[in-house]
Amino acid sequence: MQIVMDPTGDSRHHFNPHDAQEVAKAERRFYELTHVGFTAAARTGPGQVSRSFDPSTEETVFFPRLVGG
């Protein structure tokens, strides 16, 4: 599942890792988001930033670029 933070809380995108079409769509989303500055993090222990798409990751959260307050 890909969770993208937004003003509503988040948008969730489920995909079946065994379905090539769904995986391709998820991969496209991953790179589109990271390309515009989102950080992707996988929930593995304390969390891990993902630089490349891994369809086997159970849950990835995307948050926008960080800025100073």
Partner: protein
């Protein structure tokens, strides 16, 4: 005849109690509630307990091993703490866009744990003051 008028103090405490309940339990259908639920899911068991009891949780910087405290809030809510748990430096950084506080806090947690140097690079630092004592938003 005297009319009953609730005191301001009473109103304030009721409002605070409602806010506390709202934050503790998270109204699932609101953006804030959803974001707080997501945050809790991503916290470690120890952080979850700490957040429930103290309304803040601590993270360890992935690069330096320094300890940071993240309070409930969306700005000026992060501080570095020393070995005695005293705030030594306030840090202000947040994700772009108008995100609910749970999302902001989760982004701050992930950033400090996974890319601490980068997070500190964009953060504005400030001297922590009394506002870092206690539960800033929840009490």
């Amino acid at each position: 005849m005297l009319r009953f008028r609730p005191s301001r103090r009473g109103e304030r405490s009721r409002r605070r109690a409602a806010k506390r309940l709202f934050i503790r339990h998270g109204m699932e259908k609101t953006a804030e509630g959803r974001s707080l639920r997501l945050l809790r899911q991503w916290l470690s068991p120890a952080q979850r307990v700490q957040f429930a009891e103290m309304s803040y949780f601590e993270v360890v910087g992935g690069d330096t091993g320094k300890r940071y405290r993240i309070y409930a809030g969306a700005a000026t809510n992060v501080c570095e703490v020393d070995d005695n748990g005293r705030p030594t430096l306030g840090l202000c950084f947040l994700p772009m866009g108008d995100l609910p506080i749970g999302d902001v806090m989760l982004s701050q947690k992930i950033a400090l744990e996974c890319s601490e140097t980068q997070a500190r690079g964009v953060a504005r630092s400030f001297a922590p003051d009394r506002t870092f004592r206690g539960n800033r938003l929840l009490r």
